[in-house]
Amino acid sequence: MKNILILSILLIFAFQGFGQQVEKSKSGLFLLQGGTIHTITNGTINGDILIKDGLIAEINDNIIHPEARVIDCKGLSIYPGLIDAGTKLGLAEIGAVSLTQDHDELGDFTPHMDALTAVNPTSVSIPVTRVNGITTVLTVPSRGLFPGTAALINLHGYTPEQMYAGFKGVVMNFPSTGRRSRRDRRSDEDIKKAEEKALKSLTDFWDKAVLNAEIHKKMNGQTNPDKKYTPQLDAMVPVINNEAPLLVEVNQEKDILKALDWIKEKKINAIFTGVAEGHRVADSLAKYNIPVITGPILSTPRRNSDKYDTPYASAGLMQKAGVKVAIRTNESENVRNLPYNAGFAATYGMGVEEALKAITIVPAEILGVADKYGSIERGKVANIFITDGDPFETKTQVRHLFINGWQIPLESRHSLLHEEFLQRSPGLK
């Protein structure tokens, strides 16, 4: 088994570059001329956009800039890059090959595992994702009570640092009372016991983290060699000091309510993720102003008694109740389906405008990067994609793509294999 895995890894490295990107990305001055600009924050306008130094330098009618490369956008639609606030992109390469999976460290308490460290900038899934207009993703570790620290990355760059988009957040999996799958035949009692045990160890860890944060305060930012090395607890300091939000993964109704009580008691600034049954407790989420990153929308109803469209409708129900809702895919290789997840939410009650916000400005706001991302505004980072139509519509094609002001070729393994094999040569014989 191990040998086969290692062999597969070798193969991956051997083939790295194959089916990736042939053309190089370009940087510089770009003038997007004559498109319909969906700014998200300031309505839809017709005009030009000047991209300079990686930023949106100007939005105006008839911009003239002799040095800029002109991109003709007549008849096309311009959108801010889409943001998926919950993925494993860059941390996972091949599902069934465990040694290509970097999102699950061992142990319950590993908040110091930094996702950005393990992001593979040349993951084959990255070009596959971005050519569909997704420019920015939160990549999230997943196993244990505190699986690690998620990182927001742009889908372009040759080092994790180049990709880093300015947000990191500690992730917590709130103890679940759900069943893992239909094959999970634990008794209700066992589930309850497991939950109680998890809650207890959660509280123990938290108390230690609080004490550690107090010690840090007394250290006044100085290092002290006498201080015990406690990286797990140190990673919690910004959360405990309310300087950074905690990403709390929680899905079932009663778990969400319990998590609400828990964060209120601990006075934590939290973002809830998953939140599959958020529609059942939408009023409470709204009341306590908990932002939510929900999804996948394209998922099966979680209870056999649920209405068939519950997962499609849940995001819209929460949003209408006043909850700030972003939509995620929780995917790795198919993060590219983000616009379709939002599209289904739009169709089943959320509406096109709100659903589009849920994958642009709302996640940017929730993650505290709305000054840079999530809309087309002067001074923001030039993460932009240009389409021949509604980005939710399945058949819509992306015509141009910019990340950090770089023009990205619309190439991926999938498109390159298409080109090579549509008319194979030699054909038969």
């Binding site: 209870r303 198919n334 379709y340 399945t394």
Partner: protein
């Protein structure tokens, strides 16, 4: 609120299905996407006794339940050529060859997945054995007659028999890695087929000799060999789980050697690489719209697979293999427009007439034509649009899903002891629970 369902509503909705349980229904003024005969605006379709009786404008029929489809799209019921819906067992994974087992023996009319599929316009699915074995079990083509309680009532009577084969990692993992018995390589997988077919030929001869009086003692009966013999005789369509180009070519060579012609590859992620060979053999392909990278053998995949195959003349369908995807196959088919620009009819064929051909039922379903069975799906907005919403799904002329009569709890069989219906963390993604490998997990867990 959406959750005002009551038991009364539930019972009411079932009795409502009974309104037209003779299978008579008239659907008026829809935009008909016939698949085989173009688009027909403002047209009526009359179904009598479960069969399409007439397609025309202004049909008049008395005493027939009439549906106003003004502003709606009317298409043939969607067909899924690969699912594991409505069966209690998927993999008899103990042996590399289990041709004798039949998932049709394990039908589960209470699987809520049937209703969810109907709510996505799907009227027929191919309930398949899993991919643990090189020669897995026989499969069952079922009609989504939600509400029946006799498992046999799900069967599409008269549909050709089909069987699941599997190549590559799954049989290698289960038998080679798991049990330390051959096959543990793709070479070994080929030899499993050659041996099984050769033994079947010997078995057939032994029975021929007995029946023609050359021998006097009846040979031992072997249901596994009986089934292999039926494949050789052409009575069973082979549906083969496959990914890599080399193994796809291998199976075509083996089947050619034994004179087996009816073949449809399943998943076939690298089918695009050997599309000309598939077309030349006459093999069909049933693919995912965009799944890839969940294991090594699908790392070199492309979402353009369906397009490349179609344009090379291979009869291609898009399937679900998932209780999640089956709910929006219309959307999965639309991805062939994004990835390769298929026309509306080509894209819709991927989930209607083409899977019908792959299951050998294309003369009965898969398009809106007079004389075909009354399986119809009604959509608000074009089914290939992201804004499409299935409104009603009709099977054999009987309404089995109606968005306007859809209480939240559609279960038929309710556990009288379960506190409240369980919440599952599982989202329905492929890489979280490969449906093709269902039942194998128990088995591995037991290993330890």
């Amino acid at each position: 609120m959406k959750y005002i369902s009551t038991v009364l509503l539930f019972i009411f909705s079932f009795s409502l299905y009974g309104q037209n349980d003779s299978g008579d229904i008239l659907i008026k003024n829809g935009t008909l996407l016939t698949i085989t005969e173009g688009t027909k605006e403002n047209t009526d379709i009359l179904i009598r006794n479960g069969v399409i009786d007439k397609i025309a404008k202004n049909i008049k029929a008395d005493n027939v339940l009439t549906i106003d489809a003004t502003g709606l799209y009317v298409m043939p019921g969607i067909i899924d050529a690969h699912s594991h819906l409505a069966i209690d067992a998927v993999n008899e994974s103990t042996n590399p060859v289990t041709a004798e087992v039949n998932v049709g023996d394990a039908l589960d009319p209470f699987d809520i997945g049937i209703y969810r599929a109907l709510a996505g316009g799907v009227s027929i699915s191919h309930a398949m054995h899993g991919s643990a074995n090189a020669i897995g079990g026989q499969c069952e083509t079922i009609k989504h007659r939600w509400g029946v309680t006799n498992p046999s009532d799900l069967r599409m009577d008269g549909a050709p028999r089909t069987i699941k084969f599997a190549l590559g990692e799954n049989p290698m993992r289960v038998h080679g890695e798991g049990n330390r018995i051959s096959p543990s390589t793709r070479m070994g997988v080929e030899q499993v087929f050659r041996r099984a077919f050769s033994e079947a030929l010997a078995y057939m001869k032994a029975w021929d000799d007995y029946k023609t009086g050359k021998t006097t003692i009846p040979p031992a009966y072997n249901l596994r060999m009986e089934t292999m013999a039926d494949i050789i005789k052409g009575d069973i369509i082979v549906h083969c789980h496959s990914y890599r180009a080399d193994e796809i070519l291998m199976l075509m060579n083996v089947l050619e050697d034994f004179g087996v012609k009816k073949l449809c590859f399943q998943h076939v992620n690298e089918g695009f690489k050997v599309a000309p060979e598939l077309a030349a053999f006459g093999a069909h392909a049933s693919v995912f719209s965009d799944w890839w990278a969940y294991k090594f053998e699908v790392y070199y995949s492309t979402a353009y697979n369906a397009t490349i195959l179609t344009k090379n003349g291979v009869v291609t369908s898009i399937n679900s293999d998932s209780g999640e995807l089956i709910r929006h196959l219309y959307h999965e088919a639309a991805k062939s427009q994004k990835y390769g620009g298929l026309t509306d009819t080509e894209a819709l064929s991927l989930i209607t007439i083409n899977p019908a051909k792959q299951l050998g039922i294309e003369d009965r379903v898969g398009s809106l034509e007079k004389g075909k069975e009354g399986d119809v799906a009604l959509f608000k907005n074009h089914p290939l649009s992201i804004y499409a919403v299935p409104q009603m799904t009709i099977v054999d002329g009987i309404i089995r899903f109606d968005i306007n009569k859809d209480p939240s709890d559609m279960r038929i069989d309710v556990d009288p002891e379960e506190e409240i219906p369980a919440f599952y963390e599982f989202e329905g993604h492929h890489h979280e629970g490969d449906a093709c490998m269902q039942d194998v997990f128990d088995y591995f867990n037991n290993e330890k």
